[in-house]
C-alpha cells in the first residue's frame, strides 16, 4: 500500500524528519486559505498514488496569490495515471541549493534491505543511477543489526559532505531508518532531500510504501486500499484475492500458481479470463460460496472453471459451497470443477450429487476444455444447467 505524499510527510514529521510547512486542501477555496498562512509563494501538488506527477503537470508553482484559485481549480479537474485529483498539498515554495536522494528499500532478489544515497538527487536520479553509478552509494542493512548512527555518518560522508550539513544528513538518515523499521515500510524514500540557502535540510517529497501484512500491528492515518475497486474490496472481506480482468471465463483456483496456469490455458485455447481469484489456504463452505458469488457478479462471466487441490484446503467442504451456490442461484452460469488431493472422492460425490460438472483428470486443460464446451453449448441451446461429466483421464488415485 502506497501512502500519498501528504500522508508520508505526516509520518516523516512524526519521526522528526524535517518537512516544509504545508496543508492539504480538498477544493480551491481550501487551497487559497491554506496558502494565505504560508506566504506569497507556494507550490500546489496533486496527491495521487503514482509517479511522474510532475511531468504530467500535477505540480504548480504559484508566485502571485491571484493565480492560485484558477491553478488549483485546474488541478482538481485533472486525472493523473488514472487517478482523479481529489486532494492538493499546498506547501511553502522552497528553492534548493542542492538536491539529495536518500532511500531505504528491500532488494527482493537478495532479501537485503538497502540504504541508497546520492548527492545528485532530484527528478533525474534514475538517469544518474544509470549513467554515473559511482554517484549512488549503497549500504546493505542487516535487519537483525541495523547500522548505528556512526556507521550512517561514515556512509554519508562518501557523498562529499562534512561538518554541520553532514551531521544534519546523519540525523535524517537515522530517523528514516528508525521510521522504516518501526513502521515496517517496504519503501521509505526522500527525493529530493533539499539543502536550502540557509543550510537547512528538508524533505521536499515523501515516497512511502507500507506492508499490508503488517497492518495487524501497525496504524497508519488512512488505509488507502479503501479507495480500490469495489469487487476487490469485497474479496478482501471474504478472504480471497481477486483481480478483475477483461475476458468472459471466471477462474477460481485454490492457489495462485494454479489459477494463473488455468488462465494461461484458457488463453491457449483462445479464451480470455474474466478474473483471477485465489482462495488461499482457508477454504470453507461459506468461503467457496461467497467466492463464486463474487465472480458471478461480473456480468461478462459466461462460465466458471474451478481448480482445487486438497492439501491444506478441505475441498470436500468447498464442494458444499459450490453446490449451495448452484442451488440458490437463479440460472447460474456453467461451472466446471477440477478437484484433486486429500478427500477427493468425497468432494466429487458432493459435486455430482449437486449436479455440478466434475473433472477428475490431473490436466488443467481438460477442465478448460470442459468449461469451453459447456459455454458454447449453452450459447447454442440457451440456458440449461450443466450436468455432464468429463472423464477423459481418470487415472488419478
Amino acid at each position: 500500500m502506497k501512502l500519498l505524499e501528504y500522508q508520508g510527510k505526516n509520518l516523516f514529521a512524526k519521526y522528526g524528519l524535517p518537512v516544509p510547512r504545508g496543508k492539504v486542501a480538498e477544493d480551491p477555496q481550501e487551497a487559497e486559505e491554506a496558502a494565505a498562512q504560508l506566504g506569497e509563494r507556494v507550490v500546489l501538488k496533486a496527491q495521487v498514488p503514482v509517479g511522474g506527477r510532475g511531468k504530467a503537470g500535477g505540480i504548480k508553482y504559484i508566485s502571485h496569490p491571484q493565480q492560485l484559485f484558477a491553478e488549483a481549480e485546474a488541478l482538481f479537474r485533472m486525472d493523473i495515471g488514472g487517478f482523479p485529483v481529489e486532494k492538493i498539498l499546498v506547501e511553502e515554495w522552497l528553492e534548493a541549493v542542492k538536491e539529495i536522494y536518500m532511500g531505504l528499500l528491500v532488494d527482493a532478489d537478495t532479501g537485503d534491505i538497502v540504504f541508497l544515497f546520492s548527492p545528485e538527487g532530484g527528478v533525474n536520479i534514475e538517469a544518474v543511477a544509470a549513467s554515473r553509478p559511482e554517484k549512488v552509494f549503497r549500504l546493505a542493512v542487516d535487519p537483525l543489526a541495523p547500522p548505528p548512527l556512526y556507521r550512517l555518518r561514515a556512509f554519508l560522508r562518501q557523498g562529499g559532505f562534512q561538518g554541520k550539513i553532514l551531521e544534519e544528513l546523519t540525523k535524517i538518515a537515522a530517523r528514516l531508518l528508525q521510521l522504516f523499521f518501526a513502521k515496517e515500510l517496504l519503501i521509505g524514500e526522500i527525493n529530493p532531500l533539499a539543502i536550502l540557502p540557509d543550510q537547512r535540510v528538508l524533505a521536499l517529497d515523501a515516497k512511502v510504501e507500507v506492508d499490508d501484512n503488517a497492518l495487524f500491528r501497525q496504524e497508519f492515518e488512512k488505509k488507502f486500499w479503501e479507495e480500490q475497486d469495489l469487487l476487490e474490496k469485497e474479496a478482501r472481506h471474504i478472504g480471497v484475492t481477486y483481480v478483475k480482468l477483461n475476458g468472459s471465463v471466471g477462474v477460481i483456483g485454490s492457489g495462485a500458481g494454479l489459477a494463473m496456469a488455468t488462465m494461461d490455458m484458457l488463453e491457449e485455447r483462445g479464451y480470455a479470463p474474466a478474473n483471477f481469484l485465489e482462495t488461499g489456504g482457508g477454504i470453507t463452505e461459506d468461503l467457496m460460496y461467497n467466492a463464486l458469488k463474487l465472480v458471478c457478479k461480473n456480468s461478462q462471466v459466461a462460465g466458471v472453471v474451478i481448480n482445487l487441490y486438497g492439501g491444506v484446503n478441505p475441498i470436500e467442504k468447498g464442494a458444499k459451497g459450490i453446490v449451495r451456490f448452484v442451488r440458490e442461484t437463479q440460472s447460474p452460469p456453467p461451472i466446471v470443477v477440477k478437484a484433486l488431493g486429500n478427500k477427493q472422492e468425497e468432494c466429487w460425490e458432493t459435486l455430482r450429487e449437486g449436479g455440478v460438472t466434475v473433472v477428475t483428470s490431473v490436466k488443467t486443460e481438460d477442465a478448460v476444455d470442459s468449461i469451453i464446451k459447456l459455454i458454447n453449448s449453452r450459447k447454442e441451446k440457451g440456458a440449461n444447467l450443466g450436468g455432464e461429466e468429463v472423464n477423459r483421464d481418470e487415472h488419478t488415485a
Binding site: V106, A108, G111, P143, A214, G257, E268, L340, K363, E365
Partner: protein, 287 residues
C-alpha cells in the same frame, strides 16, 4: 536418496495444537513422516495425535534429537518461532503460513543464512520426499517416489506437476516448495545445486511464475548443470502491476515477466514448456 528431507530427519511441529497444525500432523504421520514432537508455548505437557507437546523447541531437540521443523504458527508469531528453532540448532525450517510481514521474513532469512539453515517459505506448501516423509500441506496421493526433482514457487502447481509426472510414469526424489512471497528463505539456485549433487535425482523441473528474478538467477547455474532441467512459468496472461495472489507474483516496472524468465532459461539450456502437461512429457522424453 533425496534432498534436505531424508531418513535422518526427525521433525517437530510448531503450532501443533492449532486446528491446521493438528490436522496436518495427522496427514504427515499417516504419510509415514518421522515426527518426534510438537511445540506450542503454554501447552507443554499435552499430547496431540499421540505426540508429546513441549513449550519450546530446545526441549524437543534435547529429548528427541529433533533436527527439522514445520511451522503452522499464525503469521503474527512465526518470526519468533523460526528464530527459536534456528537458535535451538534446527537445520531445516519449513514455514507454511502466508501473509507474514516482510520485515519478519527479512529477519528470519538473515538468521537462517548466518546459521546455515535451510529455510523454506514462508508461504510454502513445504517439502516432500515421497516414500520418506513430508513436512508440509501437500496431498500425499499426488506424489510418487522416483527420479525427478521439483522446485516450485506454487503449492498447487507442484501438486499438479507431480500428478502429471505420475501419468507419464515418473516419480519424484524430492519436491521443494520455496514459497510464493517476494522474499523467501532459500534461493532456487541453492536447491538446484542440491539436486545436481543428489545421486537419485536424474532431472529437475522448475515450476516458476511471474515476479522476482529467481528463475533468471537459477539460469546462471543451469548452464553448468549435467542434469536436464525442464521449466514451466505461470502467469503469461497476468496483467502488469497487479499482485496475483502470491505476494511475490507481480510484474513490476517491466521486471519479472514470463518472457524474461523463458529467455534466460532457454539460453541456459533448460527446456521450457508451454503448459504443465508439456513439462511432464518433456521430462519423460529426456530420461
Amino acid at each position: 536418496m533425496s534432498i534436505l528431507l531424508n531418513h535422518e530427519t526427525r521433525a517437530v511441529v510448531q503450532g501443533i495444537t492449532g486446528r491446521i497444525g493438528s490436522v496436518q500432523t495427522a496427514w504427515m504421520l499417516e504419510y509415514g513422516t518421522k515426527l518426534v514432537a510438537g511445540v506450542t508455548p503454554g501447552r507443554g505437557g499435552e499430547r496431540v495425535q499421540g505426540l508429546p507437546v513441549y513449550d519450546d523447541v530446545y526441549a524437543a531437540v534435547e529429548k528427541h534429537g529433533a533436527n527439522a521443523t514445520v511451522l503452522f504458527v499464525p503469521a503474527p508469531f512465526i518470526r519468533d518461532a523460526v528464530l527459536e528453532a534456528i537458535d535451538a540448532g534446527i537445520k531445516l525450517v519449513v514455514a507454511i503460513p502466508e501473509h507474514v510481514p516482510l520485515h519478519d521474513v527479512l529477519r528470519m532469512k538473515s538468521a537462517a543464512e548466518k546459521n546455515n539453515v535451510w529455510l523454506l517459505g514462508p508461504n510454502t506448501p513445504g517439502i516432500i520426499s515421497p516414500g520418506i516423509g513430508k513436512l508440509g500441506i501437500m496431498p500425499g496421493n499426488m506424489f510418487m517416489r522416483g527420479q525427478v526433482g521439483i522446485i516450485s514457487r506454487s503449492g498447487t502447481l507442484s501438486y499438479e506437476m507431480a500428478g502429471l509426472l505420475k501419468e507419464v510414469g515418473l516419480g519424484q526424489s524430492t519436491m521443494v516448495g520455496v514459497g510464493g512471497d517476494p522474499v523467501v528463505g532459500s534461493r532456487m539456485v541453492k536447491i538446484l545445486q542440491e539436486f545436481e549433487a543428489d545421486p537419485e535425482t536424474e532431472a529437475v523441473i522448475i515450476v516458476g511464475e511471474i515476479g522476482g528474478n529467481a528463475e533468471e538467477e537459477a539460469a546462471a547455474f543451469i548452464r553448468e548443470m549435467k542434469k536436464p532441467v525442464v521449466a514451466y512459468i505461470a502467469g503469461r496472461t497476468a496483467p502488469a502491476g497487479r499482485r496475483m495472489g502470491h505476494a511475490g507474483a507481480i510484474i513490476s516496472k517491466g521486471q519479472g515477466t514470463v518472457e524474461s524468465k523463458i529467455k534466460a532459461l532457454e539460453k541456459a539450456g533448460a527446456m521450457v514448456a508451454f503448459k504443465p502437461s508439456d513439462a511432464a512429457r518433456l521430462t519423460r522424453e529426456c530420461l
